[in-house]
């Protein structure tokens, strides 16, 4: 089994027309070709390289990670002598991926990385999550390298980035008992030790994913007497330096292979990343957006495996003398699940492309031409508004897919024998961690208020379409009109949040449907990289967006009376 080769919708998104430009910018016009044996000579070769590595990850996901998933779920991690010991299968997954040189996908080549942009890195997370969503959390924490690479000084980079490639595990230590969604309330104390010429960390962190890691990025209060986010800085702590106790591991409902730890820092020596006071307001905010992209990809991976488990069961299970897939009630469920997966996947890679584009422009710094500066701002704006609706929709749809996957299995799905019950448990955290669905709605408010979402929708709407897709565009125009009416309604005081939630959901549905129209258009233009047509999913999402807009408008009107 190869989880990349058997899923050509990934190839479809990897070969999106913008990818050549993204590859060329990431490679800075291929300056490293000739210097490193694996650096590409041109954009086409870069894309081929992405595909090759994705195929390797797909092979390992299909042959190692997926077969280990069930036992990992049963065994889970444990604490031994203040160290977190992974389940046997988790350790094997890690070792195999490490041996293949895959911890450093987006790191620069000078630190042994592959220098891949976000799109292919996010694809690896989707692929790994399809195999085991819990393991995907550990896998995607290699992205901590990105934070170090982007914000730490040269000495820290030189010291720690090679270690991540060599397999040092990572964690991001943000949450505390009294600082969850409200990270401004972080209290863990950082004081500068003049004698030892280093920072010292003291305090407690809770719910830390991969908390037994070798390297920790820790958010701490460095400015005594401050109470808000402006007193927080970001630190790199090396487990080898001592001063950390793993107090307990949580007993969780899902992603049980992923250790979630409570940590006590006791005079632990640490290095400051970047500048003081920028910890939360700059560094964590940046990596939080990356992390939300990560949860989006975990969600799409889970949606994909839920589809596949349901499709396989429905083809095999017979009732009334035929496979249950032949019954409309089951067939339609499968179709809806597939549409949700296609819709959130296309939003995932649209968002990832925008992140790639703005980061590529950003890397040019002051050398940007005015046109490039405009393109940078547009990409950054798009990434900012797409990220919350991606995190919101992908995680909520993944939960619905996990629910429907059990439904297709009927009574058997309620038993522990089938993977679907694990998927159901694993999905549940997706709409909670790295910012709950409710916080994503809050994050979307700015884009709603200043009209950025509506102008994005207009931009999608202005794309040329094949005549056969026009009826779907008409539905989406109607949905957009309803959406505008919904945005103009006076906000009801008693249902203020619900209003916002409905607005955000409708906007997300319209955007996903437009993206599926563009995908269908690409196929009508002759793109054959995906053997399956996206048209059924586009039809479903267009109808869904329109229906949601009608429903939400009616409900909001009832409240505002």
């Amino acid at each position: 089994m190869n989880f990349y080769d058997d899923n050509d919708s990934l190839k479809f998104h990897l070969t999106h027309p913008d990818m050549l430009k993204i590859a060329a910018m990431k490679e800075q016009d291929f300056v490293e070709h000739g210097k490193y044996g694996d650096a590409p000579a041109n954009a086409e070769e870069a894309l081929e390289n992405y595909g090759r590595v994705l195929s390797l990850v797909g092979e390992i996901a299909g042959e190692v990670v997926a077969p280990n998933a069930e036992e990992v779920d049963h065994e889970g991690p444990r604490i031994e002598e203040n160290k977190v010991v992974y389940a046997k299968g988790t350790q094997q997954n890690y070792d195999v991926l490490k041996k293949s040189g895959l911890f450093g996908i987006s790191m620069p080549r000078c630190y042994h990385g592959l220098n891949f942009p976000y799109v292919p890195f996010i694809m690896t997370t989707e692929i790994i999550s399809r195999a085991d969503t819990g393991f995907a959390t550990i896998w995607s924490l290699q992205d901590c390298a990105e934070t170090v690479s982007e914000f730490a000084d040269q000495a820290l980079k030189d010291k720690f980035l090679p270690r991540i490639y060599e397999g040092a595990t990572c964690s991001m230590d943000l949450t505390e008992p009294d600082a969850g969604s409200d990270l401004q309330a972080v209290r863990l104390k950082a004081t500068f030790d003049e004698a030892a010429n280093c920072w010292r960390l003291n305090g407690v962190k809770r719910f830390i994913t991969n908390g037994g890691a070798d390297l920790h990025l820790v958010l701490a209060r460095s400015e005594e007497g401050t109470l808000d986010g402006r007193g927080l800085s970001y630190f790199l702590y090396d487990r080898a330096d001592g001063g950390l106790t793993v107090r307990r591991l949580e007993n969780k409902m899902g992603i049980k292979g992923s250790p979630t730890a409570e940590l006590v820092f006791n005079n632990a020596p640490a290095h400051l990343i970047g500048e003081r006071r920028f910890g939360l307001i700059k560094y964590v905010m940046t990596l939080m957006n990356d992390a939300r992209l990560g949860v989006g990809s975990q969600s799409v991976g889970l949606s994909e495996v839920a589809c596949r488990e349901a499709e396989a069961y429905a083809a095999e299970r017979e009732q009334f003398g035929q496979a249950i897939v032949r019954f409309p009630a089951v067939r339609d469920l499968l179709m809806t699940m597939r549409a949700r997966t296609d819709a959130t996947r296309t939003l995932l890679y649209e968002t990832s492309r925008m992140v790639d584009l703005y980061k590529a422009y950003e890397a040019k710094g002051k050398n940007m031409t005015p046109e490039e500066r405009a393109a940078y701002k547009a990409a950054l704006r798009s990434a900012d508004i797409l990220t919350p609706i991606l995190k919101l929709s992908a995680s909520e749809f993944a939960n619905r897919n996990a629910y429907d996957c059990i439904q297709v299995h009927g009574g058997s799905g309620f038993m522990k024998e089938y993977a679907c019950e694990r998927l159901y448990r694993d999905a549940r955290i997706l709409s909670i961690y790295e910012g709950t669905s409710q916080l994503q709605v809050v994050a979307a408010q700015k884009g709603i208020a200043n009209g950025t979402y509506l102008s994005k929708i207009e931009e999608y709407d202005s794309r040329p379409l094949h005549g056969s897709l026009e009826p779907l565009r008409a539905q989406l125009r109607e949905a957009t009109e309803n959406c505008k009416a919904l945005l103009e309604l006076p906000n009801s005081e008693e249902q203020g949040y619900d209003f916002k939630r409905m607005q955000t959901d409708v906007i997300a549905a319209i955007i996903m449907a437009y993206l599926l129209l563009s995908d269908s258009q690409r196929q009508l233009d002759g793109d054959e990289s995906c053997s399956r047509s996206f048209l059924p999913s586009a039809r479903y999402m267009a109808a869904y967006a329109r229906a949601e807009s009608v429903r939400c408008l009616a409900m909001a009107k009832s409240y505002s009376v």
Binding site: G37, R52, V53, L56, V96, K99
Partner: protein, 267 residues
């Protein structure tokens, strides 16, 4: 200490994953319908070589195959897993080789490669299942041979100690270097390709040697050098009509035993 290691590999049709069109009407293998893969036990031999290289970093692994130029695919695969050099011996004059002619050509190529400490290979290939090529190469190069090797226990510059997996148990044997070892299916799986090597070797071309390059006695190559002649090929299809349902009772079992005794199968 480091070692010069030659690993014999072969590209074979994937007979373990056969589809409905895997066989031609005349009973021969429809090679076009089967994907070409790295012979599984050769991958295990490569892993043994890679483990030696891991322990003795200066060691050099050369993979060698006889076959058409499209065998470059498995050479690239071997390079992406950590082999250092890949050679294909390829020539129309090799066509029709049986195991004798094949082992002769491989032995000539190994001599041309030069100094070596060990030749490793899979126990057998899944297309022919003869398990003869390895031992015949050893004979031609006048090397001690260890077949059915499973695990490497010791290597000290002069000697190698390995376990052999046999029907009735595990045997530990020692041999002097240079040696030829064939590795069996229960040996550790080969590692996956390494990302950097995969990209670096994505378009690598194997060195291709023709018959003249290995300086053979030409009459010992190909069809001429192959005493094995295929008389005919039978398409054996196991049909259900030859099956007998035995009732699960004392009488049923007695009847089965009686039949087996009468047919002189037992007793």
């Amino acid at each position: 200490m480091n070692y010069q290691i030659v690993v014999l590999i072969k590209q074979v049709p994937d007979t373990q994953n056969v589809g409905p069109d895997a066989m031609n009407a005349d009973g021969t293998v429809n090679r076009a319908a089967l994907p070409a893969i790295f012979n599984p036990e050769d991958l295990k031999a490569l892993e043994m070589a890679l483990q030696i290289k891991e322990q003795y970093p200066g060691s050099v692994i050369t993979v060698l195959t006889m076959g058409p130029e499209r065998a470059s695919a498995i050479i690239r695969d071997a390079l992406s897993r950590g082999a250092d050099r890949g050679i294909i011996i390829s020539d129309a004059r090799f066509a029709g080789s049986d195991t004798l002619a094949t082992s002769y050509a491989l032995a000539c190529a190994i001599r041309k490669i030069g100094e070596f400490d060990m030749v490793l290979g899979g126990r057998q290939a899944i297309d022919g299942d003869t398990a003869q090529v390895g031992p015949q190469v050893a004979e031609k190069l006048d090397l001690p041979q260890i077949t059915y090797a499973e695990r490497l226990l010791e290597l000290n510059g002069k000697h190698i100690v390995l376990t052999r997996r046999l029907d009735n148990g595990v045997e530990t044997v020692e041999a002097e270097l240079p040696v030829l070892v064939t590795v069996t299916a229960s040996a550790p799986d080969c590692r996956y390709p390494h990302a950097h090597l995969l990209l670096k070797n994505a378009k690598a071309q194997a060195e291709i040697w023709n018959a003249d390059a290995i300086r053979p006695e030409i009459e010992r190559l190909g069809l001429k050098g192959s005493p094995t002649k295929v008389k005919k090929i039978d398409n054996v299809v196991l049909a259900h009509k030859e099956g007998v349902q035995v009732e699960c009772s004392e009488a049923g079992i007695n009847g089965l035993v009686m039949t087996l005794v009468q047919d002189h199968i037992i007793g």
